[in-house]
């Protein structure tokens, strides 16, 4: 009977094991960066619109 432990890892036939944790980190970093960029763009537009009326 095969021994199944919690810490056992299933390796795919190709030999490449995708680290789920690493993918989560990358997704989190991407979301943070997108939000940062969106905020910067909105900030610049709001400042120009509110103080110089350049966009209207």
């Amino acid at each position: 009977m095969p021994k199944n432990k919690k810490e056992d890892l299933l390796i795919s036939d190709s030999g490449v094991k995708e680290d789920l944790n690493q993918r989560r980190v990358t997704a989190f970093v991407i979301i943070c960066r997108i939000l940062t960029i969106v905020l910067i763009i909105l900030g610049v537009i709001a400042f120009l619109e509110g103080n110089f009326c350049l966009l209207s």
């Binding site: 943070c32 939000l35 537009i45 509110g50």
Partner: protein
């Protein structure tokens, strides 16, 4: 579950070398704080400021919830007291106050609620967490807190005494006691706008004394903070040299 909590704590606190998530989060929070201040530079809100307000409010709300959730790690002990102690700590109180402008987004009904927008200014205090120098300055102020409070009390007493004196000696010059307090504050800080000028000799004499006392007393906190800051810096230097 506990590992998720620990990881959340690591991410929301100031980043360490090589921690990509924490660094990205720190940059996002710093940007949100700075961009969140932009609506305060305008007379009227526009469409973009409303989006900024909504977006930053959601970010700060999530940040606040995450900080309360990981309060036991922050405080260093694991029971309900840690959560209560954290919620009542100065930075957490300022975090909570900075969330209040959210109410204005959903209920922009009265001018009193409109004043809540001013609480955005508390968001700037969030930056303290993300700068090591800011942390040093905060520690320095905490160390000389009692001396600073003593000097502040001295200044307030002097302002009240000189305001009472000038209010009695030159009653025509001031409409009310608040104007006298304003004059005393402007004189002691040696700013001297010149909008209220004493005309009698005794009034001018009190002004001269106020200016001289001001030079001595107002310089005291600056000296205290500078001395404590230099002390902290030299301590850090000697720690690395040893």
């Amino acid at each position: 579950m506990e590992s998720l909590k620990r990881r959340t704590y690591e991410v929301i606190e100031a980043s360490h070398e090589g921690d990509r998530s924490s660094k990205a989060y720190d940059i996002l929070m710093t940007t949100a704080v700075i961009v969140g201040m932009i609506p305060l530079t305008m007379k009227k809100d526009n469409f973009y400021t409303m989006i900024i307000e909504l977006l930053t409010a959601i970010i700060f709300l999530i940040d606040y919830c995450a900080r309360v959730y990981t309060a036991d790690y922050k405080m260093g002990y694991k029971n309900i007291k840690a959560y209560i102690a954290y919620v009542l700590s100065p930075l957490a109180v300022f975090d909570f106050l900075s969330l209040l402008p959210i109410i204005y987004i959903f209920f922009p009904v009265s001018s009193v609620i409109g004043l809540l927008k001013l609480f955005r200014i508390f968001r700037i205090l969030k930056l303290i967490r993300y700068s090591k120098t800011m942390v040093i300055i905060a520690n320095v102020i905490r160390k000389v807190k009692s001396q600073l409070i003593a000097v502040l009390i001295l200044i307030v007493i002097y302002i009240f005494v000189s305001a009472m004196l000038i209010f009695q000696l030159e009653p025509d010059l001031f409409d009310d006691f608040f104007a006298a307090l304003y004059w005393a504050t402007i004189s002691i800080t040696t700013i001297g706008y010149g909008d209220i000028t004493p005309t009698t000799n005794i009034g001018q004499f009190i002004t001269m004394i106020s200016a001289l006392v001001g030079v001595a007393v107002i310089a005291l906190p600056t000296g205290m903070i500078t001395a404590a800051y230099m002390n902290e810096i030299s301590k850090k230097k000697s720690k690395y040299e040893l």
